[in-house]
Symmetry: C2
Subunit: 323 residues, 2 copies
């Protein structure tokens, strides 16, 4: 049995998985550790340790490790170096290809984490069979991955697929990136919580104000309230869906995918916003009514999508380079 190792490096955890390549969505072993607090060397050590731990179990089960991939949360250049990472600045400069290749003796691919998740969905998830796909991951920020002609787009330097800092309101909410009105200030998990704080601050939403939680409700709490029928929480999700749909329409106008997938942590609450976001997007794209409606759906591989995709991407690249 051929297995590829995939490692997803996040701001809080490093997840390593082994993926059975004969059944590409199937994880045969996994390992999870907290993201180390130190610099690039500590990060590399954690990635190698996670990958080796999974690889050892894979080999002990009689399977063979054929490739390894790593997904990193930021701009990854064509040499696999992390060049910018808003939520993992201490990892900037990390180059993981050599240490992981030395440890496992297999071809290694390093890519952006949302690119990896996109590839996982296309090979083994909600995007199976589609050749023109855009995925957006709704988490702390908004990540993205673009597939055209059945291949991931990387752009000129490896950095393609960053919709989160698309400015959609230049006089809007300040963004840590230094600009105002980036899409992820509205349509990400942190954007959802910001919209709730704003509604509470305007005095419109007493149900969203709790003395135990002066910073406002979490996304999970908002989802609970909305599911229980709370009007203020429902209104926040409606506003959120409008912003999500607005940005998705921008992406459909530009890329005309056959399929848009919405992934990331917020996908667990998709029933609270995805229908409305779809309506907004499809009614506002150029030529709406004169074109086939783009499918807009929830991703299905969950929080392991990035690690699975890193493994599948590495296996595919390895196959190509041996081809």
């Amino acid at each position: 049995v051929a297995v590829a190792i995939g490692v997803d490096v996040g701001g809080t955890k490093v997840l390593a998985v082994g993926v059975d390549l004969a059944s590409p969505g199937r994880v045969v072993a996994s390992s999870r550790v907290a993201t180390p607090g130190g610099g690039t060397e500590d990060l590399a050590a954690a990635v190698v340790a996670g990958a080796v731990s999974v690889a050892d179990r894979v080999v002990a089960s009689g399977a063979t490790v054929v490739a390894a991939g790593v997904g990193l949360p930021g701009l990854v250049d064509v040499d696999g170096c992390l060049r910018a990472a808003p939520n993992l600045s201490r990892g900037v400069g990390a180059t993981l290809r050599a240490p992981l290749g030395d440890a496992l003796r297999v071809p290694v691919v390093v890519d952006n984490d949302a690119n990896c998740a996109t590839w996982a969905e296309v090979v083994a998830g909600a995007g199976r069979g589609a050749r023109e796909v855009v995925l957006v991951t709704l988490g702390t920020g908004i990540g993205g991955g673009l597939v055209s002609g059945g291949r991931l787009l990387h752009g000129g330097h490896g950095f393609a697929g960053e919709p989160g800092h698309m400015v959609v309101d230049p006089s809007g909410a300040p963004c840590p990136c230094g600009r105002r009105g980036c899409w992820e200030r509205y349509a990400s998990g942190s954007g959802l919580e910001r919209l709730a704080r704003e509604a509470a601050g305007r005095g419109e939403a007493p149900s969203l104000v709790s003395p135990e939680d002066p910073r406002g409700p979490s996304g999970e709490r908002l989802a609970e309230l909305a599911r229980a029928g709370d009007g203020a929480a429902t209104a926040v999700f409606a506003t959120f869906a409008g912003w999500l749909g607005l940005g998705l329409a921008n992406l459909v106008n530009l890329l005309d995918p056959e399929l848009v997938l919405v992934g990331g942590g917020l996908v667990d609450a998709a029933e609270l916003y995805l229908g409305r976001a779809r309506e907004v997007a499809l009614s506002s794209v150029m030529g709406a009514g004169s074109r086939p409606p783009t499918r807009i759906e929830a991703a299905t591989l969950g929080p392991e999508a990035g690690a699975i995709g890193a493994a599948l991407l590495a296996a595919g690249e390895g196959a190509r380079s041996r081809g």
Copy 2:
């Protein structure tokens, strides 16, 4: 000598050219007529007449016509049918492949006009040698074309590359498309004139107000004034450049091209805004300072780019289909 025919259909004129394929930027014959006022049959007749007129001259000169292409101003589906066209609604439904193929007996390709212009710049203009390119055409609206891996991106249905209706300010200027704050309300030729009218309306710009021109200054007049040092016109171009840069940053974040080309009618005034737009875009992309600066330059093929590109696209497709 092998020649391809290219026809560019605009809201006001139909331009047909013959392009020497041994020297792909070179136009050996051309024909221009006003766009007919009637429906799709009149439009097809005008396209065929223009193409035949050029083809006759090409053949009379001893050369051979090997392919023909048509660029249309709107959403063109994979079958070559015009599905939506904000500035040529009477042409919606036009299918030109069959009539043109019957008339010329060569393979025919029909594509979006800005896609054609993009291909022309990549094969024979400012984009030569580049494989990751975004072109935006600044005219009445904003058109676009995307090249990745050296190929035009068409998306799932043929409609990719429409940045003009990217919403960049949802409470902004109303757009004929029904939404508010589309990028082309700010960074196109009509957007420039709108910005000037707004400045004049606020009483900030008496030099932009003329009794002969109650609808405000044209883009050409604004450029004249700015070149002559008029402060109000210069300020309008600075605002325009800011909006252009904002949208270009969105495109660079999403697609990471090695080269962004700015074409269309407004490119004649590029010295009045392109430097500033470049500064705004490059200073505001994600990871600015940690990534190689994307080149942002003026397109060079001028108003014939669309027709030239239609010819080159047809010649390339013909070569591919002949294997």
